[in-house]
Amino acid sequence: MIPDLYAALVAPFADFAFMRRALVGAVALSVGAGPIGVFLMLRRMSLTGDAMAHAILPGAAVGFLIAGLSLPAMTLGGLVAGVSVALLTGLVARATALREDAALAAFYLLSLALGVTLVSLKGSNVDLLHVLFGSVLALDDDALLLLCGVSTVTLFALALIYRPLALECVDPGFLGSVSRSGGAAHLVFLGLVVLCLVAGFQALGTLLAVGVMMLPAAAARFWTDSLAGMFVASITVGTLSSVAGLLGSYHFGVPAGPAIILAAGCLYLLSLALGLRGGVLWRLAPAPRHRTA
């Protein structure tokens, strides 16, 4: 029994360095992306992460065109593209009648089409698949350092802008009356979203990076009512998804990136069904006797 469990759960990581690297990378990503996802969800911007993930593609593609599959070049390119789209979206939303969601949709679609065209000009389909779906099983030292560094920066930056960010969600009128920091905090936050997605596309690709951000956050909402609790729960779900996804990938021979996101999806469905805070099962259960006051 125990040897079987060891072979199923521990041996893949104990025996293979690429699995250990993949685990460290995916967990590092979850630690930074989870709290970002929680704030995206609470700010009703859940699909913004998805749009941004598409938006960084042309930048990564330009980096790829210039330097091939180079981590710094593609990261820098992705960062520039993501921040540009975020700033342009903000500018259009403030200066014209177009709302932020429509402006973002326009820019990310433009970005995505441009990115795919650029990659197809030079690379093969294999290269394109790498950019779109990542290669979590081939993370080198530089990629691991990037993932850990980005998560560290994200957590510290989030701590710095935490107060205006939370207050802008719950009571923007009050924040506007005591401080002008709301706009700056929003921009820094969008920058962090881009940063996490750029780091994530190394491991999971542009299309899946947002999954490790939003699915754990959505699952966390079903387990706790406190913001700090949601951060912890989202990181926990992200970490469990990383472990489960990598093991699934190892044992069943499926691609690791999608396996991690599928695992996160399963944990989301589980939370949706069993979560103590509004899970479907608890809603169906007969109500306990009520109090008098």
Binding site: L42, L160, R163, P164, A166, L167, C169, V170, D171, P172, G173, F174, G176, S177, V178, S179, S181, T224, D225, S226, L227, G229, M230
Partner: protein
């Protein structure tokens, strides 16, 4: 009595459409002023202009020596996202923003002040409750506790008594009266004319423009109210340009 806020031909609005235009007047230190008028009359917009969140389309607002944090603002309850996972204590503690700012922590004395403010509005023991579990009246009490902590010389209240019961209104009115006794300037957007007549000595009646501004009994005469009700409610893209400047 010195003026704490001076409005010089102020026009406030959005995208060239005035929400309220050409207001001239002074708000005296220690005034207890009600701002009334139909929906869309520009009442909330005026408050946003007074606190500096909205730049006038024309004219100017003179705030004298008042800084941003000397003006406390109570937004409409509907503007709050009550599904956000924040506890009552943390929401109220934000009233200490002037001291703690973006990064400062709460000291023991601060926590005691928050507890005292909660107690003063009748919310003792509610600190650890999520704001989403509060009734409308309880939430309004919590927001008044935050105002108490802000300890500002000028207090702007946007529909502070909307959709809350008589007991809560009476309790909160006592707090407003205390502010008035302390010579703070209180400006409140209100809809309940009886309450205004009872508790607010001065009234500004708005209908996209100042219809009347003065002692409440004068400002709320029936003919003035009828005049205010005749105000066109919607923005009109084909409305002629305002002639006041050209005159």
């Amino acid at each position: 009595m010195s003026a704490v806020l001076k409005l010089h031909d102020v026009t406030l609005g959005y995208d060239r459409h005035p929400a309220v235009h050409h207001i001239d007047g002074e708000i005296a230190e220690g005034a207890l002023l009600a701002v009334v008028g139909p929906n869309g009359a520009g009442k909330s917009t005026l408050l946003k202009g007074l606190m500096g969140a909205l730049k006038p389309l024309g004219g100017r607002i003179d705030r004298g020596a008042l800084g941003r944090r000397d003006i406390a603002y109570l937004p409409q309850a509907a503007e709050l996202d009550r599904s956000f996972p924040i506890e009552v204590f943390d929401l109220v503690a934000m009233g200490l923003w002037r001291r703690v700012g973006l990064f400062g922590g709460l000291r023991r004395a601060d926590r005691e002040r928050v507890a005292e403010a909660l107690s003063a509005v009748g919310l003792e023991g509610f600190g650890r409750r999520a704001i989403g579990t509060l009734s409308g009246g309880q939430l309004q009490r919590a927001l008044f506790a935050r105002l108490l902590l802000q300890d500002a010389p000028v207090i702007l209240l946007d529909e502070p008594f909307a959709a809350i019961d008589a007991r809560t209104v009476a309790d909160l009115l006592q707090i407003v009266a205390r502010w008035h006794d302390e010579r703070r300037t209180v400006i409140a957007v209100l809809h309940d004319m009886e309450l205004v007549r009872r508790a607010f000595p001065e009234t500004l009646l708005l209908a996209r423009r100042p219809v009347a501004w003065g002692p409440t009994a004068e400002a709320l005469k029936p003919e003035r109210l009828l005049e205010a009700r005749a105000m066109p409610e919607a923005f009109d893209d084909r409305a002629p340009l305002c002639g006041v400047h050209a005159a």
